[in-house]
């Protein structure tokens, strides 16, 4: 029931978004919203902190961009790009989930940088340092507004799918593994297998977001696959709040606002991002969601005292 309300609020924001912001910025927020929510399946719900999600975002973006440039129809390029991200996530994830804790983080992080250098060196295909420019958008969604509608529809499909996953027995198994891996193993769950599923699901949605990102500015810049981008994804989660399904969306909106709108005012915006990150880690671990919760409880207490 609560989720229905929150979904309606999301719907409201998506409706007014393009009237308040430039449609391209609003579309970018939705794309990063998909990434934030999907990464949260892995980080927040399964307890796997990955510093390598930009790999799959980049792979999806490069794959779809190249296919669109080669004239492959959109309805084939998006699933194929997502499929490739899923496949590679399956391989990388297989090695990463073999190890736990710090080792897992180091591995995801190092693999990310491997994909970055592959993209950097493979100039003939990826454009190397200059990025992959000139990605065409199909005629039907060529203008910003229709593209926004397309992204919005995709956004809600992904959101509903991920909500379904989280509330399925699979999602419960993820949470069990986060809370107590040894108990999960004792009850008969194959912990490594479920971690692998979580890794693949999160990465596939991130790859899907990458495929549509390629069309957003018609270019895939190389820094979209750099490990710093993976850090930015983590920032979005943490800023919004990992404890809630919808929380990371707030983080995505905040991050895109910083990097698109605020960056014009102050080029050193990552400094502000770092400071916000620091404050969240030290004092507000539940992110904005926790802040709202605190304010809400504070308001209730005030009112109770006023009536008393």
């Amino acid at each position: 029931m609560r989720n229905t309300y929150l979904l309606l609020i999301c719907f409201g924001f998506v409706l007014i978004g393009p009237f308040v912001l430039p449609p391209t910025t609003a579309a970018e927020m939705l794309i990063f919203g998909i990434i934030a929510v999907s990464t949260n399946i892995m980080v927040g719900y399964t307890g796997l902190l990955s510093f390598g999600q930009a790999s799959f975002f980049g792979i999806g973006a490069y794959a779809c961009g190249l296919m669109l440039k080669a004239g492959v129809p959109l309805l084939l390029a998006i699933p194929a790009g997502t499929g490739l991200a899923l496949l590679i996530a399956g391989m990388v994830g297989y090695f990463c989930v073999k190890r736990t804790g710090l080792y897992f983080i180091c591995l995801t992080f190092a693999f990310n940088q491997m994909f970055y250098f592959i993209a950097y060196v493979w100039t003939g295909v990826t454009g190397g340092e200059d990025g992959l420019p000139g990605i065409p958008r199909p005629d039907l969604i060529s203008d910003p507004v229709s593209f926004y509608v397309f992204i919005a529809v995709l956004f809600f499909i992904c959101l509903l799918a991920m909500l379904r996953i989280i509330h399925s027995p699979l999602g419960l198994a993820f949470r069990l593994i986060r809370e107590n891996p040894s108990r999960a193993a004792a009850v008969g769950y194959n912990v490594r297998l479920f971690k692998w599923f979580s890794f693949i699901i999160a990465s596939a949605f991130t790859g899907l977001a990458g495929t549509v990102y390629a069309m957003l500015y018609s270019i895939v810049p190389i820094d979209q696959i750099h490990w710093l981008k993976s850090g930015d994804f983590i920032f979005m989660l943490l800023f919004g709040g990992t404890g809630n399904f919808f929380g990371p969306l707030i983080g995505a909106v905040g991050y895109i606002w910083l990097s698109d709108t605020f960056a014009v005012i102050w080029a050193r915006w990552p400094l502000l991002m770092g400071i916000v990150f620091l404050i969240v880690v030290l004092h507000l671990r539940g992110g904005v969601v926790e802040l709202i919760g605190r304010a809400y409880r504070f308001a209730i207490r005030e009112r109770a005292e006023a009536t008393a």
């Binding site: 902190l49 073999k98 180091c106 250098f117 850090g231 990552p270 770092g274 880690v281």
Partner: protein, 301 residues
């Protein structure tokens, strides 16, 4: 005609050998820098149980401090002496003001704190020194090249090799032969046990972080005359350090030294035949290690 061709081929083979020798020396020199960094990272990882995401930023600050002091006092040696200690101060600040407050929280938060610190330090470099890089010449008595008999090789790189080997030896002595080193080793082995023995674990943590920061700062300072300074130097070196630690196996100090040298060598040797693959080869190395020996070359866990 035929003779000329023959000599040319002979000359080519000879120059190839020389190239390989000088690349091996180059690889050893960068490998030493990686080893210094990786030992610091391993110490912090082992004792404090966190991967120090700010390690690259500390390395970069070491380089920039060295550059600043060297251009101010016009003495590279003085800069190499002082700069790492300034980095230690930053390290102390990070440990005492942030990491320590987060011991009660999940260790992921310590890592995220260090990541945030790395972002901030990274941006501060651009704020203080601008987005354009600098270069620093080696000191006069280490400038130029020296004839080694087979090849002519830059003096500074040889000095770097010898000096970092000495630092690593000193470190080895410190860790294996002194009481403080024994505490550090015990901390890596079993943190709880150290606390039980009545040793103030907070001081051990502070010291470890400081030592790691010192090594990172020193590596940064030593790297400046060969690698130059760019604001992104810390971001670029960080994944390499993690590869070294993964290849070595978490928590092994001799492993970190050997893996650091191996990674440096594999990079420089790849440069001879396939320069584009220089940055990718270390990840291939990492991948192979994970497949063949998941605990790392020297890891036991």
């Amino acid at each position: 005609m035929w003779l000329g061709f023959q000599t040319r081929r002979h000359y080519c083979e000879l120059s190839m050998t020389l190239l390989i020798i000088s690349q091996i020396l180059n690889g050893l020199a960068t490998g030493m820098l990686y080893a210094l960094l990786a030992v610091g990272l391993t110490l912090i990882l082992g004792v404090l149980n966190i991967p120090n995401f700010a390690h690259g930023a500390l390395y970069a600050f070491g380089a920039y401090f060295t550059f600043m002091i060297a251009s101010f006092t016009e003495s590279f040696y003085l800069a190499i002496l002082i700069a790492p200690f300034l980095v230690v101060l930053i390290g102390f600040l990070i440990e005492s003001q942030g990491v320590r407050r987060l011991y009660a929280a999940h260790h992921d938060y310590q890592l995220l704190f260090l990541f945030a610190v790395a972002l901030i330090l990274q941006e501060l470099i651009i704020v203080f020194w601008g987005p354009v890089g600098f270069s620093l010449l080696p000191p006069d008595d280490l400038a130029g090249a020296v004839d080694l008999g087979i090849i002519i090789y830059p003096k500074y790189r040889i000095a770097l090799l010898i000096f970092s080997a000495l630092v690593i030896l000193a470190l080895f002595f410190f860790i294996n032969k002194t009481d403080l080193g024994a505490i550090l080793r015990a901390g890596i082995e079993n943190r709880e046990m150290v606390t039980v023995l009545g040793i103030d674990i907070n001081r051990v943590f502070l010291l470890t972080f400081g030592l790691g920061a010192y090594l990172a700062g020193l590596a940064g300072g030593l790297a400046t005359p060969i690698l130059g300074l760019t604001p992104s130097m810390g971001l670029d070196i960080l994944p390499i350090c993690f590869v070294v630690v993964v290849v070595a196996g978490l928590g092994s100090i001799p492993g970190a030294i050997i893996a650091g040298i191996l990674v440096g060598l594999s990079q420089s040797i790849t440069t001879i035949w396939w320069p584009e693959a220089t940055n990718v080869v270390i990840y291939v190395m990492m991948g192979l290690t994970i497949i063949l020996r998941p605990q790392g070359l020297f890891g036991s866990r």
